[in-house]
Amino acid sequence: MSDPRFHLALRMGDNSLILAQQNSKWCGHAPTLEEDIALANVSLDLMGHAQMWLGLAADIEAKGRTADELAFLRDSNEFRNALLCERPNIDFATTLVRQYLFDVWHLEQLGLLCAGADISVVEIAQKAFVEVQYHRQRSSSLVIKLGDGSEESHKRIQNAVEALWPYFGSLFENSDNDHFLFEAGISELPSSLRKRVVQQLSADCVQSTLILPDSVFWHKGAVQGHHTENLGYILAEMQYLQRTYPSSNW
């Protein structure tokens, strides 16, 4: 069996990479200039995190693969990102809520990793943590404003929450590796974050006037590489250059 830390780094890296790729499609198209810049900045941070996590994964694996090769030369069944990250952008409400749900989880997860036992994981988590605080602040204040905004904005944000909810649970799915990581004191079980994250979302709902779905049906399988068809489209675009011109360099 391979080093369970490889899977942790891959999972963290893939989440950030796929979400950054999705968000970056808004560049030049966001509803306001400030939002355009904010989304691009968040994507840039996430891309930086992906680079660090995938770099760590490549080091742990020690098979001579680089972070870029992990990003551009794996097929969708080898990706370990949560299903939430690969949901299509659809509209600004969906993009924002996707980011919001991710940010609340992300900050919580990074905080726990910072207290873990593996120094390479801790270093990256600490670096990312301070940046993700800004992401969390931005997305929650926007969700609150729009949730408690006009009838139309409320409806759109509420609909997005309901549409994304079944994919959100993918962030809390345990794999066999997670038990090893937990035993080794490197990370908590993904499922153990669920309660805390949902509590934080509920606390925001007081202001945002949103209602969280009480459904516990969540799509599973991402930890084994079972993804929705949308990931294939994302990779087709993201990996186009390396697939068409293998080994081309900057």
């Binding site: 400030e34 810049i37 900045n41 120094i119 801790v122 270093e123």
Partner: protein
């Protein structure tokens, strides 16, 4: 060439995004030492996705080669994490003179407008033209300005 002079060459390199600051002011040069194969320079990134990180490494290499230091290795180190507390007091004063409000530790925004020093300010956006800056506006002179966010 000794470690001290190499360090001063490296620290004098200007930040590519905010050329009012040197890398020394910014606090990203973590260590300079003499190794087996020349000088080893530890550099830490500011924001993890900041495209300037790569440029900074290239500019350090350029400055060293220009000073005829040809044996060196520039390494990226993550820990201890860079925060805005690493910016020197001189660096903060330079930022302000350049028109960027310096990080105001422990507060949610800048202390005063870098143009007119008014304290009547409002935030336009928490994200600005570079990953490290937010966009603010002065309610007195009405000028928008960049604020170097606290990390």
């Amino acid at each position: 060439m000794n470690v001290l002079s190499v360090r001063s060459i490296v620290e004098a390199v200007l930040d590519p995004e905010i050329p009012a600051l040197t890398l020394g002011d910014l606090g990203v040069i973590r260590d300079v030492r003499e190794g087996k194969n020349g000088f080893e320079i530890d550099v830490t990134p500011t924001y993890s996705g900041c495209p300037a990180t790569r440029v900074i490494h290239e500019m350090i290499a350029e400055a060293l080669i220009k000073a005829q230091v040809n044996q060196f290795d520039i390494r990226k180190v993550l820990s201890p994490v860079w925060t805005t507390s690493w910016i020197s007091e001189l660096g903060k004063a330079k930022l302000e003179a350049y028109g960027i409000a310096p990080p105001n530790l422990g507060k949610s925004g800048p202390k005063s407008c870098p143009q007119c020093q008014s304290g009547s300010l409002s935030q336009i956006s928490n994200f600005g033209s570079t990953p490290c800056q937010a966009l603010w506006r002065c309610e007195d002179c009405l000028e928008p300005f960049n604020y170097f966010k606290c990390l």
